[in-house]
């Protein structure tokens, strides 16, 4: 089965759910999400049986669509993220109901759309994972971004959500402008849209890119601006706290995991040949400077937050900094370690722990009605299960050994040490130290503080299974990270 059937299947599933939404009873909209979850699990299974182009197959699609370990890994990544986001949305129905329509409207208004729109985003993320041509990168990126504009502003009777939507729309459009401008310069310099052909020209001394390194640097920095916005790196992080806080929580989770991962896949694919060729050594300096600033600002700003969602927004900024540090080491890291594998391991752990944290947040927001860290006081009494999974997520985010977060950070530090970027390493150590403080603040609230009342939290069986699985991933990757690393070792 050719790999591009996967995205086609996801889009068809989305359209089927759209029709289903039109016919299903208002009160049973949750069926849309449940069918979506089952369908996506099916696609995930199919992921293991796909193939790339057969020898001699010169169909135009293969010049846009890569089938390699990177593409397949991040396709699976997008699918898992979307499945968990749909499960979260099910637990978020109460909030959705409250902000979607006035009381006289029947229950379930607008829920169907909230359940099937993420599928189209997922298709976009999967296309981004495979994109290896400027044109397909851009259209897939726009599909993801535009569906996020809608999802962020989805709670249209909530001022915060609308504000987040407008901010994301305006800044997103601006960053897209920079990104496209950079890509057109790249196209103008090489005359090619396919990334591999552009990279091939770098080897040629007389190519325009080697004759005009200044123009190449200009193009690459514009691309970097666009991508830095997507992955929330300083100084293009200004939108993050407000948008993350205002958006519906499942969407925030989707943004912070899916959008960030896609940004890094595309970033690696576009920038890696240029980092390797080193025609423009300033590029690495630029990436490292952005990375250092991002780690520092993300972690220090997170320390002051009382709102859990806002704190995770800053934490997501700081993780982008660590990933950028790995990207900056792509040329200088030792030959035993593949930087792509390091980034995949980091993102894999990041997926599990961030989605877990946001899932608990969805349940707490839906049943206790608050997002402040104070709401989490005594969570261990309200629901020992939720408190435990959030504990695992928090210590993994902080990077304590025997969790996925530890190995993620460990390998980033390793490649940075091999590259001898001591200043950035110092900043990163500072960042990790600050991280311990604010992540464990949540743990303290859950276990040491008394609950304000004796309300209990209910967790559905599907959500419970999903959360248990993510916790398992964190713990397994925390002792045995080899599967992800070896996936990229041969490439």
């Amino acid at each position: 089965m050719p790999a591009y059937y996967l995205e086609a299947a996801v889009v068809v599933l989305g359209i089927v759910l759209m029709l289903m939404d039109a016919f299903v009873e208002k009160a049973e909209k949750s069926l849309v999400a449940k069918v979506g979850v089952l369908g996506l699990i099916g696609v995930f299974v199919a992921l293991f049986f796909v193939r790339g182009p057969e020898a001699g197959d010169a169909a135009p699609i293969w010049s846009f669509y890569a089938v390699d370990p990177t593409a397949l890994f991040y396709k699976g990544f997008a699918l898992i993220t979307t499945i968990v986001v749909l499960l979260m949305s099910l637990d978020y129905r109460g909030v959705l109901q409250h902000f979607m329509g006035p009381e006289q409207e029947k229950a379930g208004a607008g829920q169907g759309e909230f359940f099937y729109l993420p599928l189209f985003t997922c298709a976009g993320l999967m296309w981004m994972a495979s994109a290896k041509d400027i044109v397909s990168i851009f259209v897939a990126l726009e599909l993801v971004t535009i569906s996020f504009y809608v999802l962020v502003a989805f709670l249209r009777r909530n001022v915060g959500s609308l504000e987040a939507g407008v901010k994301y729309l305006i800044l997103g459009a601006l960053s897209t402008g920079f990104f496209v401008y950079g890509l057109t310069w790249l196209f103008g310099l090489s005359g090619e849209t396919e990334l591999s052909k552009i990279a091939a020209q770098l080897a040629n001394e007389d190519s325009a890119m080697n004759l005009y390194p200044k123009a190449l640097l200009f193009a690459l920095s514009m691309v970097l601006v666009g991508l830095a916005f997507k992955v929330a790196a300083v100084p293009f992080q200004i939108w993050v706290p407000d948008v993350y806080q205002g958006a519906p929580t499942p969407v925030t989770a989707f943004l912070s995991v899916g959008s960030k991962a896609a940004g890094f896949v595309v970033g690696y694919r576009i920038l890696q040949p240029f980092i390797d060729a080193n025609t423009t050594p300033q590029l690495i300096t630029l990436i490292l400077a952005v990375s250092g600033a991002t780690i520092l600002l993300g972690n220090l700003a997170a320390m002051q937050q009382d709102n859990f969602k806002r704190m995770l927004a800053y934490s997501s900024i700081s993780h982008a900094g660590f990933l950028l540090l790995a990207l900056g080491c792509a040329r200088t890291a030792g030959s035993q370690i593949n930087v792509q594998g390091v980034m995949a391991l980091y993102l894999g752990g990041y997926l599990a722990m961030t989605l877990l944290a946001f899932h608990v947040m969805c349940l707490v927001r839906d049943q206790l009605g608050g997002e402040e860290i104070a709401t989490y006081k005594g969570l261990a009494q309200r629901s020992p299960f939720l408190a435990f999974v959030l504990l695992i997520a928090m210590i993994s985010l902080a990077g304590i050994p025997f969790t996925a977060g530890f190995f993620g950070k460990f390998y980033v530090f390793l490649v940075a040490l091999q590259s001898r970027y001591y200043v950035i390493i110092a900043l990163a150590v500072l960042g990790v130290g600050a991280g311990f403080y604010y992540y464990l603040k949540v743990v303290r609230a859950m276990y040491w503080d008394e609950a304000a009342d004796d309300r209990r939290l209910a967790v559905g069986p599907m959500s419970k299974a999903g959360m248990a699985l993510l916790t398992g991933i964190i713990l397994v990757l925390g002792v045995y990270p080899t599967p992800i690393l070896s996936l990229f070792a041969s490439s």
Binding site: G101, E105, A109, V135, V139, V150, Y212
Partner: protein, 187 residues
């Protein structure tokens, strides 16, 4: 030809400034229309007739008319009386100046006539692969004129078919989005 280039560029830049500087949204929108016309003229000068015409039909015609409708439906009078934020204004100007200086320094590193943009070669190879185009188009190719509508259409629907399909999904998503965000009652 050079004179025409400068005239149309000047029109574009002047009216582009008008879009930003004007406090009245209707004036801004109309300035944008004129700026688009200048852009269309530049495309036509580059022999990209199809893109030039589409620029006028789609952007100046359809999109901007829609813009004007919306602006006139909303009451934006209050915007005109808002005091100007001079700090923000200064910041914006500084950023724009930095950007222009960067661009100028990059552009000045190109030595005229030394190396054409690889883009031009790209266009020519595109034209050589004209087999299978309609006869009228091939005749025009023989006269060394680009039948650009045919070339654009063929390229998009054959080589760039995959991105085209992705764009179709994108349009579906944006249609759904507009309905959700603007519909008064969702039931």
């Amino acid at each position: 030809m050079d004179v025409l280039f400068y005239i149309f560029s000047a029109i574009m830049i002047l009216f582009g400034l008008g879009v930003v500087v004007s406090r009245n949204p209707v004036t801004s929108a109309l300035c944008l229309v004129v700026s688009f016309l200048g852009l269309a003229a530049l495309f036509i000068q580059l022999d990209a007739f199809f893109i030039g015409i589409v620029q006028i039909l789609v952007y100046a015609g359809a999109v901007m008319v829609l813009f004007l409708f919306i602006i006139m439906l909303l009451d934006l009078k209050s915007e005109e009386h808002q005091p100007m934020n001079y700090m923000a204004f200064a910041g914006g100007v500084i950023l724009a100046v930095v950007f222009v200086v960067q661009l100028a320094s990059v552009l000045s590193s190109f030595k005229a006539g030394e190396l054409g943009f690889p883009l031009q070669q790209h266009e020519l190879t595109l034209a050589e692969n004209a087999e299978g185009l309609p006869e009228a188009a091939q005749e025009r190719m023989a006269e060394e004129k680009l039948p650009d509508v045919h070339l654009v259409g063929r390229t998009i629907f054959t080589h760039f078919n995959f991105p085209l399909q992705v764009v179709a999904v994108l349009l579906l998503v944006s249609t759904i989005g507009v309905v959700i965000l603007s519909k008064r009652k969702l039931t």
